[in-house]
């Protein structure tokens, strides 16, 4: 009986740990993707015009943390897209486990919030897995060098999900401001806080 109990526990730990251990670290080269946007068109990093990088954010519809950050994600895009760093939002959740995160529900939410950025669907969860995303929201700030992308920041958007007025440090903005000023990113990693990504079973 003991063995039977331990085995699922070990499997669980392995599954839970696998994405983050195989994912990108700060300084790594990030891979491109080609995923369907809410408008039906495919979106890739290479397809984004006039960029110096991208703010890739794994997020979703249902998670209260993601919802709490929607307006701040829109603000990030509005502030930094013109400076070469647009937001690319990716929903990695399995709609079987999280029906509110289906592609159709994404289309509805993107229209409701008038997302000014692509909101694309990681249908087989490969992009989230390769990137090592574990949460929604989970941010990867990428800088571009010709056609290569480097990971400059991984983590949370800021340090206060539910009280935007009490935020002390805006991690993503701080990283982008440093990148734009040609400086080294001082805080290049934080633990992303939010819901676990709902992996297919």
């Amino acid at each position: 009986m003991k063995k039977l109990l331990i085995l699922p526990a070990i499997l669980f730990l392995f599954i839970a740990a696998a994405p983050s251990e195989t994912g990108f670290k700060v300084g790594d080269k990030a891979s491109d993707f080609n995923l369907k946007n809410v408008d039906g068109k495919m979106v890739s990093l290479a397809g984004l015009k006039n960029t110096k990088g991208a703010i890739v954010i794994f997020t979703c519809n249902h998670c209260p943390f993601s919802v709490a950050y929607e307006d701040r994600i829109i603000a990030l895009h509005n502030k930094y897209a013109a400076q070469g760093y647009p937001v690319v939002a990716i929903n990695p959740n399995d709609p079987v486990k999280s029906p509110d995160d289906s592609f159709d529900a994404m289309v509805v939410r993107a229209a409701e919030k008038k997302f000014p950025f692509p909101y694309i669907y990681d249908v087989d969860q490969k992009v989230a897995s390769v990137y090592g995303a574990v949460r929604t929201p989970h941010v990867f700030v990428l800088t571009r060098e010709d056609n290569a992308y480097n990971v400059a920041y991984i983590g949370a958007i800021d340090d206060n999900t539910y009280e935007p007025e009490n935020v002390q440090t805006r991690y993503v903005e701080q990283a982008l401001d440093e990148i734009l000023a040609g400086k080294k990113v001082t805080t290049n990693f934080t633990k992303a806080i939010g819901c676990t990504i709902k992996w297919k079973s």
């Binding site: 109990l5 949460r135 676990t196």
Partner: protein, 163 residues
């Protein structure tokens, strides 16, 4: 007559118990957890981090209540630390605790800057919930689990740690 009084009294106590339970949810700061982690008593503290919006957390909550109920006379205390937004205390957390008839102590942690404290609970913690911290009793150092428990597994871990 005697039976009637007893029933009345029991009903009163049950009602009273229920109400105090439902209303005793307090908002705490980091020092509450720090004090629990540093306490030197014989009592084993099983501290579970959860939230009303976290489905696997909600699923395992009854196991923690059962653990406490089955070890009522032992030196064991279960504390359920909610990471819900504190503004939802009256609208969501208290009604949830009442509806689910949660018996263990529930507190709401008001520390929105997670990166300032999750490493202090355990550096390996990704910040995901459910997560469980076990301190005191027969533990040499705090034990930390970032996972969802089933009752038998939780019980097997906790039992030998009770003094």
């Amino acid at each position: 007559m005697k039976i009637k009084i007893t029933i009345c009294l029991l009903a009163f106590i049950a009602c009273f118990d229920f109400q105090t339970n439902a209303q005793s949810v307090e908002i705490v700061k980091w020092d509450y957890i720090e004090n629990l982690m540093n306490q030197k008593s014989d009592t084993l503290y099983v501290i579970n981090f959860w939230a009303t919006w976290c489905a696997p957390c909600v699923k395992e909550l009854p196991y923690f209540d059962r653990l406490a109920a089955e070890n009522k006379s032992a030196k064991l205390k279960v504390i359920l630390i909610s990471l819900d937004f504190k503004k939802q205390l009256e609208s969501r957390i208290k009604p949830f605790v009442k509806d689910k008839n949660i018996q263990s102590q529930v507190v709401v942690l008001d520390e929105p800057n997670y990166n300032s404290w999750i490493d202090k609970v355990n550096p390996e913690w990704s910040g995901a919930i459910p997560a469980t911290l076990i301190v005191g009793g027969n533990t040499a150092t705090p034990l930390f689990f970032e996972k969802e428990f089933i009752f038998t597994e939780l019980n097997e871990i906790v039992k030998p740690l009770i003094k």
